[in-house]
Assembly symmetry: C2
């Protein structure tokens, strides 16, 4: 079993913290050093036993690290990569947990240069609407999917180390091209988030908003759960994956226009057919997931 | 405490069955007779102790009933009302559980005539994506809202009986005009259902549907839960509440067009502001609900 003597987590939030906890629980990690996300969050991460010490993006922290996980918001990625690039040992493998991959790959190519062979981009498809070290838990990645988008330049050993770490967290690891990843996530994650935010914003902006909310029930709560996600993170994702997201948004707008025609024209059969297709597809998906 | 010696449930599904179970649990009901929804469902309702006997829309079943709940799909409502109207005792109060109210009121005015004074339209804002007697449970309405849209013609005693029954189920009862009810529900229930069905249909219709679904996660599951609801019921709701729903759909399409502009123009501040407004509104709502 591959062991990580020294693990550095840059961004000890829900994702970074859960990664550390899962590897600790699996008993495959020696020491975990946490970087960034504010002094009080780092203190909390220490209290919760997520990390063993706090550090910063300096030579001391990165020295002899076997694995570094970048779990910071995409916006902070350029500065983080630039600071750490000259400080990395030749034995250190770096990965990230960013929700979009084309932009991260582009950044990495610009910033990492010499160490690019050991930067393996990744994205754990897991999370909750909560954030911060407080929200971290060891089981977050269990039975979840992690997508790696390895670079042509990557050393095979680097890919293997990242893959092994995620598997030790209980995740199933897949490989894709960055563009494929971003297109898939635009459809099943980024678009739904935008739709949920838009609906809540619409209701909240109505002149009788309070009354509307007061009669919203469980269906509305589930449908809008993802609208409680971090506004900063989702702003960044929308901009980082702009093209794929706009394409999905336009496909959705066409779908809505078609639904509108069915409703306006009173096409009972057409509506039932559409709703049935959707329900059956969702049920098939759920069966496959369970 | 108002007691219902004889309760007739027309449509012993999730709603009708749960109403019977809740009143039984509250100890305020004598005998429950179930009508319709197929012989096997009635058999199951008997086995589960939801109803005490099965009946049909005849004089024997309706004789001496204190309360009749119509919990059938809106499409079946005209035939049901027409059959029962001439058979109702002058002491029998009738209510319904339809998701839309303007159409039910219109139907009732046409079908009930003499007994209109004792037909009190209602809508329990509760449910799950499941259906049938099997899915019924006594706690379904606890702490949930029920909207009554009484008619000018209603006897005060009839309104009071229906209100008392729902309160005995643990629900909070509100009164509204039918049009108000339909506008509110269009915004916080009907529109979200249409949006969820549309998204799943879009993904299911993609050429790489299987791959897309395979990378969908918890956010997608929650967002689309309501797309597992009954296609027939939602077809009927969309058509029954067509005008209000189209108005909400058009407001949503404008909202999406505005979001699209923010994404395309790379307006980071605008996106963060919109997402923050939505998150804060949702959090305020959840606090108020708890």
């Amino acid at each position: 079993m591959a062991r990580i003597e020294k693990l550095v987590i840059v961004g000890v939030g829900l994702i970074g913290g859960s990664f550390a906890l899962a590897l600790k629980e699996a008993g495959v990690v020696g020491r975990v050093v946490g970087v960034g996300r504010g002094a009080s969050n780092i203190r909390r991460a220490l209290e919760l036993g997520i990390i063993d010490s706090g550090g910063s993006l300096d030579r001391e922290t990165l020295k002899d690290a076997d694995l570094v996980l970048l779990a910071v918001p995409v916006r902070q990625m350029p500065a983080v990569m630039r600071s750490m690039a000259p400080l990395l040992d030749s034995g250190t493998v770096v990965t990230d947990a960013g929700s979009t991959k084309q932009d991260v790959v582009e950044l990495a190519r610009r910033e990492f240069k010499a160490s690019l062979a050991r930067f393996v981009p990744g994205h754990p498809i897991a999370g909750t609407e909560k954030s911060g070290a407080e929200a971290a838990f060891a089981a977050l990645f269990r039975e979840r999917k992690v997508v790696l988008t390895p670079l042509a330049e990557n050393e095979r050993g680097a890919i293997a180390r990242v893959r092994a770490a995620w598997e030790q967290c209980g995740a199933r690891v897949f490989e894709m091209q960055p563009q494929e990843h971003d297109a898939v996530l635009a459809a099943v994650s980024h678009l739904p988030h935008v739709l949920a935010f838009a609906l809540v914003d619409l209701v909240a902006g109505s002149k009788d908003a309070e009354r509307l909310f007061s009669f919203a029930a469980g269906g509305f709560r589930d449908f809008t759960r993802i609208a409680s996600s971090s506004p900063e993170m989702w702003r960044d994702i929308c901009l980082a994956n702009r093209e794929a997201l706009l394409a999905e948004l336009d496909r959705y707008r066409s779908e809505l226009a078609a639904v509108r025609v069915l409703i306006e024209s009173g096409d009972a059969d057409g509506l039932r057919a559409l709703f049935s297709r959707a329900r059956e597809a969702r049920e098939r998906w759920l069966k496959g997931v369970e």
